[in-house]
Amino acid sequence: MKRELKIFDKPENVKRFLGFFYVSLVVLLIVDFFIHKHADFPWEGAPDFFAVYGFVSCVGLIFIAKVLRIFIKRDEHYYD
């Protein structure tokens, strides 16, 4: 049997990965305040606009998809 990678089997590695992820989010939020922007729209220049928009978009997307599933979900053999 070949050697297997198991880095994510260890909870501390998952924790480390998530820690790195959260820190980078905070850094992004802070850095944005110090950046000069050429905005096409007024909201685009607002600090951390993209963070809020990205988060809200994805939450909205997932919830709409959940509602949509009620209407469009069918058995795998629906067309057979």
């Binding site: 992004l28 963070a51 928009y53 990205g54 994805c58 997307l61 998809a65 979900k73 069918r74």
Partner: protein
């Protein structure tokens, strides 16, 4: 141009020799074809050549300008990668179809007239159908049948449009057509079907996941992108495309989140990505067209990379549904790495190729002050990361451990993925080389501090949303089910149509037989045999004056009447006509 061979001819002609070759010679020959085509492309000067006179019309096989050149390059590059990926496939049908298919796409790209365009266009549809059939499962046979029917419909729309166009304009040459008049609408619908513009899109998510592992790599790159080229050629600046494109970017995202088959998730993302290109073509400014073209170039690389990674998983494990997969990073680390490079590219992470192309389209929407479109495109950008950037690697290679223990795919498949992954990063790092190929001069600078942080915020906080929702159990679980799309109308609709026609036409047939073949002749027979008693009976029934005597109804022999026999009247008429003949013929 006598020393150059049209690149399409290299592929199509070369395909014919493939069945006669064996072993390493065959592999070398197939890999040589795209290399030779690429050399030709580099040597081909701009202009119109390879013109053949046919039935008083000019067939132009070489309309070479900056727009067709970009697509020529990427189609050739992806053909090389696809052939390398498919090298170990022991099925000549697939090799021949794939080469013909690549030849068709390159033929479409360099066609300067509608005749040759249409021939190559149909070659695309037919050759790709064999890449689905070659899977040799019941599902793939049915999907291939639906696929070719839909494309025949699209091809006929295009053909009808072309015929009217030639009739109106008197020429087969085409360039910017623009919407207006029946011909242009039919041509638009024909192209839109291949570009998978809703509601004409469902063939894509229906057929691609049923294609062979290697066939899907060619399919994801060629059909939609040759339609993008043609749309950019014929309908740039058409406002309708902006809105259709915006719808295309958003709607597939919902389906992608719910879908269980990994290759179907990827099929939906193709529609989403082509949506960005359609928006760019619709906006029509130099920046937008450059954006659409460069996005097509980049999209071909990372979408085929993702299809190759998913195909490798299917090839090695025989499974492709999210519910069956998970934890494969342990035994397929390289495939996992390539998949993540594809996922990072498609999500628009800085340093990857999508970042330098999609942002041109979004900036073009911003410069034109299309605020709603801009918001939709940014929404879709965040959604892509969720839909593919996280979902595909997470549920395939991470997530729960499915217990599957396999190994990496063969070296040629790894190499093909490696080349595509390398190009994704190389173009992301050095966009200047791609920018130099684009139709218009590029003044766009992708790597500004504001753009990099904005894009990173968008995708990373989208990722945060995924993390929070999946940990709290709100993320829609992967379940073994299918989701209805507009193909419902012809898959279920066809059965309904069949039922209606069966009941309707066969019912009408039976009714006609009862009335015209049975009832009416019987009644007329009765009337001619017994005219008096029949009429008396009818009169009595109508007026309600008593009922007809029993004897009348039972009478079957012809009745004795006091009327003069019919024969006398006929005899007198004949005598009259004959006397007229005598008068006119001999006395007149």
């Amino acid at each position: 141009m006598t020393n150059l061979i049209p690149p399409a001819a290299i592929f199509i002609g070369g395909a014919l020799f493939v069945p006669f070759l064996r072993g390493k010679l065959k592999s070398a020959f197939m890999l040589l074809l795209p290399v030779l085509a690429f050399v030709m492309l580099v040597k081909m000067p701009e202009g119109k050549y390879w013109v053949v006179n046919f039935l008083d019309y000019n067939l132009i096989f070489g309309r070479v300008d900056r727009l067709s050149m970009v697509f020529g390059y990427i189609f050739t590059i992806i053909s090389f990668i696809g052939i390398l990926f498919a090298l170990k496939v022991q099925d000549d049908l697939q090799h021949v179809s794939a080469l013909m298919y690549a030849g068709g796409a390159i033929g479409v790209t360099f066609s300067g007239d509608f005749f040759s365009l249409y021939v190559f266009w149909e070659l695309l549809a037919i050759s790709s159908t064999f890449l689905i059939l070659a899977r040799k499962t019941k599902a793939s046979q049915l999907a291939a049948f639906r696929y070719i029917l839909v494309h025949v419909f699209g091809g006929l729309c295009l053909l009808a449009g072309i015929i009217i166009y030639i009739h109106d304009s008197g020429t087969t040459e085409f360039a910017n057509i623009g919407l207006g008049g029946i011909a242009s609408w039919l041509i638009f619908i024909g192209i839109a079907l291949n570009a998978a513009i809703p509601p004409l899109h469902p063939w894509l998510q229906d057929a691609y996941p049923e294609a062979t592992v290697a066939g899907a790599v060619f399919m994801c790159a060629l059909t939609t992108k040759s339609a993008v080229y043609l749309m950019a050629r014929t309908f740039p600046g058409t406002e309708l495309l902006i809105w259709l494109g915006a719808v295309m970017t958003v709607v597939p995202l919902f389906y992608g989140i719910l879908e269980n088959d990994v290759r179907r998730v990827l099929a939906y993302i193709i529609i989403n990505q082509v949506g960005f290109m359609m928006c760019g073509i619709g906006i029509g400014t130099q920046l937008a067209i450059n954006g659409a073209v460069s996005h097509a170039f980049c999209d071909i690389l990372y979408v085929s990379l993702l299809f190759m990674a998913a195909g490798s998983v299917l090839h090695m494990t025989g499974k492709i549904r999210c519910t069956d997969l998970g934890g494969l990073y342990k035994t397929m680390p390289l495939t996992c790495l390539f998949c993540m490079i594809g996922a990072a590219s498609i999500s628009g992470f800085p340093l990857f190729n999508d970042f330098i192309s999609k942002s041109m389209i979004i900036s073009a929407a911003g410069h034109e002050k299309l605020s709603l479109i801009w918001l939709i495109l940014e929404f879709a950008s965040a959604g892509v990361f969720l839909h593919v950037g996280i979902k595909v690697p997470f549920f395939t290679f991470f997530g729960h451990d499915s217990g599957i223990r396999t190994k990496e795919p063969p070296l040629n498949m790894l190499l093909a993925m490696g080349i595509a992954a390398f190009l994704c990063i190389a173009i992301g790092l050095f966009p200047g080389r791609l920018y130099n190929l684009l139709p218009y001069p590029v003044h766009f600078v992708p790597y500004t501090a504001a753009h990099v942080t904005g894009e990173l915020q968008l995708v990373m906080f989208g990722g945060l949303a995924f993390l929070l929702l999946i940990r709290s159990g709100y993320y829609p679980a992967e379940i073994a089910a299918i989701n209805l799309d507009t193909d419902w109308f012809y898959r279920k609709g066809a059965r309904f149509f069949y039922y209606v026609m069966d009941r309707g036409l066969n019912g009408l047939n039976a009714f006609s037989e009862r009335v015209l073949a049975c009832a009416v002749p019987a009644r007329l027979g009765q009337l001619s045999r017994t005219p008096i008693s029949s009429l008396v009976t009818l009169y009595m029934r109508a007026t309600g004056k008593g009922s007809a005597p029993e004897a009348f109804n039972k009478e079957t022999r012809p009745e004795e009447t006091s009327l003069a026999p019919m024969g006398t009247a006929v005899f007198l008429s004949l005598v009259f006509v004959f006397s007229l003949f005598v008068v006119f013929a001999f006395l007149g």
